[in-house]
Subunit: 456 residues, 2 copies
């Protein structure tokens, strides 16, 4: 019942709404928000969902030494506390260019790169956002793997992109399927709408899969060929956030490294995974004309990311603490990955349709359950996990709906060995395995019941 | 001449263009870029153009002490180097809420505010961008003063906004003119398109003018009244970047402080001007429904600004170094402002039409020249200044074209006493005055010549 006072107030001041932009109306809440909420509600919960890095590995001592050095030199300290360029600190761009050369094993000149092809961003996410913003109008097509990094596919959807997908296999994104899709779009006269192919080429979030060596130059060749058909350049946006978290397997050259003239590829790296998320810095190399457009947008966003943390990142690259830290991380995460895989082998029931990937790097283990088990938020499986005190990311968030049926796969889950404490991995997997056993039993009874019902 | 090899290459690989988004095509380079270029080309040049803060005032010792404290506590150091929330560090939002209460002299509850109405952004510019992004579709109307802060009007244009302007007088934005404009839009049936009124209420960039006490609640009352006509809420976006750089005159309450239910106003503050740009942090208070939309966008942009610099800002607010630093800045800039005003009085020629504002805060002195003098980039006046080694911001950048004539005023210039060294203010103004005398003499001869020509 509305009280007379409330009613009078409503009459005085009608609850006028905001008129939000079409972009705002297209923008969804990040699905991880509710997972963070669950984790905060129950501190005893073992969080295998969070994509955070391991707090115990964070380079506190290194950053302590670096900031002491920075601020003990008044002139340098002032530089770090002043504004700097929209593209980022020039010395940092030079240092990351050298770092890229080291990772690729070839000189920057062979990739058509210099420091003016680089932009430093507020995490690599901002660079991904900016590239999308300057390329995508509503209705434009972006090609991505299914599944993909859901934060970015959400970003693309908010830009109005039509995200078309191709499957993945053990060699990463299915490049033959990309070719078939491009060819179909060409035949349908839709090639003019295609803007880019988004590809996480190393230890993909969520699957942990890596694009094979052989597919890298092939994907580049494909976008070149179909660019000629399209009459404009179709780009590859290569997300290399997890590249340096490599535990075994080969250290692949990037797709970008094959693009000798720097015309068809963008590569985005971050300081968050291999060093410290708190600096919130990423760096991306891209063709000059794209960089020009990105820099103009970034001028409107913030005219440059935090300068102080750029000076810290620069010093970490210069004094060797960055390289040293990456090696420490590789050891620490490798042993956590091994612990998670061992726990999965020990605890998981042996049922048809249950399997998981073995990642050679990154932070994630991707688990596939029998199709009868729904892992979505609010499902019996999800709720039982929350009750038993273990959290995962429902796989459905990582899929785009099927173009024809509108459906997404609901029988996957993403586990992370990133943030969880080493001694919590085994109990976490045990809790998860117990729930899966229970849910498999329920599904078995239900299908037996259905069989009885249909037989009767 | 094209060599055969080049020609062959071109045939193999036609120079395909990028297909940029409509937003990218609307986005212009920030006009200050070329000023930065000029300044770098000639280090002897006295830069009265740069809106940078004074490097000598930057809080190096304070940040040194704070980072030592942060990193000597391993647990706290890890927090600062990890990810945090998209809206910003909760403790920082609580601390800035208290700071807002202190500035306003009233409790947050009387403004309908709590820490969940606040977002921490990558400088206040990012907050201004996000508010524009979630409110403005191409063709929507934003009302601003003429002149206004050109970076933001450029941002609005890139969003496709139709920026309609009202003049300013000694009391700041002409609120009567806002009313006439809103009334005209209502009569023309265009009120549905109006999204917000952008107002720099303290020591505006570029004019130094402050919105008078009397106009603050009036502007709020106006948007409320016309919101009811429009059928949606029209917001005030209050840019308070320079608020704490107050040298004399009253410390006004914000427009926001009159909005008891937190429904019609956004206020954006920054750490850049009153503390250190290198932290690249701003904080904005806004209605909950707008905040929700802004947070979702920010989730796509970067899911949170640099966490380390947020911890530094938090400590500066907590340990009193922020407040102490603001008082030091007020003294330092006041004496630089006084030096600039004294130099102008001493050096400027006494000619009709030449005048300047006396700002009570901020970093800028706005100079009006006789209409016969063009101050634009590439003008005789501008080029002579560069030759003589002094740089200003052409006033034309700060104006929107007149709705009817499409013209902008070209006889103003913005001077800044921000970055320039104290002992460079007088010689800088002397160089500028010499150029103005010369240009006035040339204009006088030209008009005398024209008079002779028209008489003959």
């Amino acid at each position: 019942m509305v009280s007379p006072t409330t009613k009078a107030m409503q009459q005085q001041d009608p609850p006028l709404q905001l008129q939000l932009s079409s972009k705002a109306r297209r923008t969804q809440e990040q699905p991880i928000s509710f997972l963070i909420h669950e984790a905060l509600r129950n501190p005893k919960l073992i969080n295998l969902a969070a994509g955070l890095v391991d707090p115990l590995t964070l380079p506190v001592a290194e950053c302590d030494a670096i900031t002491r050095r920075l601020f003990s030199d008044a002139a340098r300290g002032r530089c770090a506390l002043q504004y700097d360029a929209t593209l980022g600190l020039l010395d940092l761009r030079r240092a990351v260019l050298k770092h890229i050369e080291k990772m690729e094993g070839i000189p920057a000149s062979k990739m058509g790169l210099d420091e003016n092809c680089l932009v430093v961003s507020t995490g690599s996410q901002q660079a991904l956002f900016l590239v999308g913003e300057v390329l995508v109008d509503p209705g434009d097509i972006v090609i991505a793997a299914n599944p993909s990094y859901f934060v970015y596919t959400g970003t693309l959807s908010s830009l109005g992109a039509n995200v078309l997908t191709v499957p993945m296999d053990d060699d990463g994104m299915d490049v033959d399927a990309v070719e078939r899709l491009l060819e179909r779009l060409r035949r349908d006269g839709r090639l003019a709408k295609v803007r880019m192919v988004y590809c996480t080429s190393y230890y993909q979030n969520p699957t942990g899969l890596t694009l094979s060596a052989e597919r890298r130059p092939r994907l580049l060749e494909l976008v070149k060929r179909y660019s000629a058909h399209a009459g404009h350049r179709i780009l590859i946006l290569e997300d290399a956030a997890y590249r340096e978290l490599r535990y075994d397997g080969p250290a692949h050259r990037s797709i970008k490294s094959y693009d000798a003239e720097n015309r068809y590829t963008v590569i985005s790296h971050t300081f968050s995974k291999p060093f410290a998320p708190g600096l919130k810095l990423g760096y991306s190399a891209m063709p000059p004309d794209l960089l020009h457009a990105v820099a103009q947008q970034k001028g409107n966003h913030d005219f440059g990311s935090a300068n102080l943390t750029q000076h810290i990142a620069l010093e970490a690259l210069r004094d060797g603490s960055y390289d040293k830290h990456v090696i420490e991380l590789q050891h620490a995460y490798k042993s956590k990955r091994d612990a998670m895989l061992a726990a999965l082998r020990r605890s998981m029931p042996q049922v048809p349709g249950l399997s998981w990937m073995t990642p050679h790097g990154g932070l994630y283990v991707w688990v596939t359950l029998p199709e009868s088990i729904d892992t979505s938020r609010g499902s019996a499986m999800f709720n039982e996990c929350v009750q038993r005190g273990v959290l995962y990311v429902p796989g459905a968030y990582c899929f785009q709906p099927d173009e024809k049926t509108g459906r997404v796969a609901t029988n996957h889950l993403r586990l992370s060995f990133g943030q969880v404490a080493p001694d919590q991995i085994e109990p976490g997997i045990e809790r998860l395995a117990a729930v899966i056993k229970h849910q498999v039993a329920i599904a078995g009874r239900a299908s037996a019941g259905a069989a009885v019902a249909s037989a009767s």
